[in-house]
Symmetry: C2
Subunit: 393 residues, 2 copies
């Protein structure tokens, strides 16, 4: 057995113990120091020292004494909501959005600007997003919430802060993270919106599987495009080149028409918003919903037809990935009342499954991605408080 005690290892050990304690408080708080010691396997005196550091860093707060099992009062530890906050941003085809969440993940600011971003100059859209970000940051400041960083949801592939491609926006190789950083002074990460929507759904959607939070599922996000987020063991599955989860381009009509991606018969081409609106002969999602509510046959048929195509794609998803559940988000959540019967029937037909699959409907709808973006920032603080403290001015 070898025990090495170089300073670098001490620092690493301290960082990992800070994360252990803060993670335990986040998961089980309000909780006493003694219970944190039991759950983490650390000694009581280690826990006390680490908690003192986390309290003075503003990440943990002490609530009023609560009775312990033996009846003696002990102060209970919780995450300090105001200790660090996350700025989530979203750029999508027909809107921009910002959300600030505090350290507990609770929303403290939310703003959506509806505007079609397809036919505008990239610089204009980026300038608008910076403006949206600054307004959100000002709100955070006025609420006494220190922003740890920002995370931007983009409808495409993002690598190392660059939007490599966002076909539905017509963007390629846009250096978005650097622009937002310059405009706000914050550290900025980019991530695919479908992946962030899936994380938002996992953290804030309230779904369960066998009594525990859902950690293995596929989230379907239908905005102008159709995206998918695959979550495996609580983590986003990205594939070998960060391109996994492109549910919108699963083949559902092998002899079907050409899709914007260059392929043929993709789900997005057969069941995307534009296709549904065209078949229903309406111009907007609001009109479509109204028409469905009014029992309009063309609208109901258009949505059911999209539901059948979605069922073909989800049959292949279930067969390949065997998730614990499918969560329908975005526009598919809005259309769920008129869509899910056709989708479930299509899945039964194509998989032959006797039991219907777990088809859940998101309660977060189109806010899932921006919530996941803000949540990503605060989750990172909780996962590595030492790095967060080292970065503070």
């Amino acid at each position: 057995m070898t025990v090495r005690t170089e300073p670098s290892q001490h620092a690493g050990m301290r960082a990992s113990n800070l994360a252990l304690v803060l993670g335990e408080v986040a998961r089980t708080g309000p909780v006493s120091r003694a219970r944190v010691a039991v759950h983490t396997g650390l000694t009581k005196s280690s826990v006390s020292g680490l908690v003192t550091d986390l309290i003075s860093a503003g990440l943990i707060g002490e609530s009023a004494p609560a009775a312990t099992e033996r009846g003696r009062p002990a102060t209970a530890l919780t995450l300090a909501p105001g200790g660090a906050a996350g700025l989530g941003l979203e750029i999508n085809v027909d809107y921009l959005a910002a959300m600030v969440t505090d350290l507990t993940g609770a929303p403290r600011y939310h703003h959506v600007v509806s505007r079609d971003n397809r036919d505008r100059e990239v610089d204009e859209v980026v300038a608008d997003l910076i403006e949206v970000a600054r307004t959100a940051a000002a709100s955070a400041t006025s609420q006494g919430l220190p922003l740890a960083a920002a995370c931007v949801a983009v409808p495409g592939l993002a690598v190392d802060g660059i939007v490599v491609r966002a076909p539905n926006l017509g963007w390629a190789h846009v250096d978005l993270a650097a622009a937002i950083h310059e405009g706000t002074g914050l550290e900025v990460d980019l991530e695919n919106e479908a992946n962030l929507a899936a994380l938002g759904e996992m953290w804030f959607g309230g779904h369960e599987h066998e009594g525990a939070p859902l950690r293995d599922f596929v989230h379907v996000s239908g905005e102008i495009g159709i995206g998918g987020g695959i979550v495996v063991g609580g983590e986003v599955f990205r594939g070998a080149h960060a391109g996994a989860g492109e549910l919108g381009h699963v083949v559902v009509a092998p002899d079907g028409p050409r899709c914007g991606c260059g392929g043929h018969g993709c789900l997005e081409r057969m069941a995307g918003q534009q296709e549904i609106l065209a078949r229903a002969q309406v111009a907007t999602m609001a009109e479509l919903t109204q028409a469905c509510e009014a029992g309009d046959r063309a609208a109901l048929d258009a949505v059911a037809d999209a539901g059948r195509h979605l069922g073909v794609a989800l049959s292949s998803v279930l067969t390949l990935l065997d998730p614990a559940a499918i969560v329908l988000g975005g526009a598919f959540a809005t259309l769920a009342p008129w869509l899910t019967t056709a989708t479930a029937a299509s899945i039964s037909h194509h998989t032959g499954a006797a039991e219907p699959p777990r088809l859940l409907v998101s309660g977060l709808g189109s806010d899932a991605a921006v919530r996941g973006a803000a949540g990503t920032v605060v989750r990172r603080v909780i996962a590595d408080p030492a790095a967060h403290l080292a970065r503070r001015p």
Copy 2:
């Protein structure tokens, strides 16, 4: 910082250090003790003690002294081929197979019994497999190879030693691991054949990705059924209920005929061996291959048609999973010369990808699964030598 030194932790630390050293020797051997110390971060004296234990356990051997960087000779450590061996077994629709590999993964015995197992009593087939296993075990004994355990590849879903279902065999709830254990005295695990074929391909197939062994790929195993094995980061991806990777039941013809699984339009129904043989109007794979070699139009069309359907399924696989490569195994490897052009064209058509995907052909063919099964046993010994030593009589 907390350092705890209870005996249980000593034992755990020793087990983990034995695995660290043996793993390093397996990966980089022949290698000197000094180099193992550098690579593992353990002290030289720790490494010496651990190596002594692994040598006396028969898992590590010393080869002739090799020159070190400074020119002084040092004995080089390698895996001892005869230290432990794995018995791989396979039960498939039209054959039984057994393979013994030594600790280095080298095949030391291989036997295949061709016979259609579909219309036979389960007990008869199990008795035959036990006989095949005993013969293989006798060969291992006569070669001085101590079998660590057995692993059985089954064409279906296996959980906790039970074949839950194997549709192409017509089996359900067969207590196979217990039967093989009783017949051979060995510890026995079951695993899906498509998953084992993927592991066999990764360990013994010799494919690379950007200069390193392939660790993120999808393996297609076409026997009577069509299976898929998804490997992510070197591990089999199993999904929430161990059912992931069922490539044969990806929907490739949404309006297509009913499949044996109860679904409709599945890849297996459109491009399985029986379908290809029927369209080519031949009775066996050997006849099909001969007909293709002779340029028979019906045979070539049947194979190309299967290739197109396979391309539809793989388009969805590439879109959802973004693997570094696809490896065609089993019958698809045999048919590759007449299949892959159609498959690649179908993928290009359905994904719109400018670059053709990495479509590799297995050199292991139908032996991949049984090789993966035997390899699984010896890999487990290398991953946890302490558990192996504790189990020895």
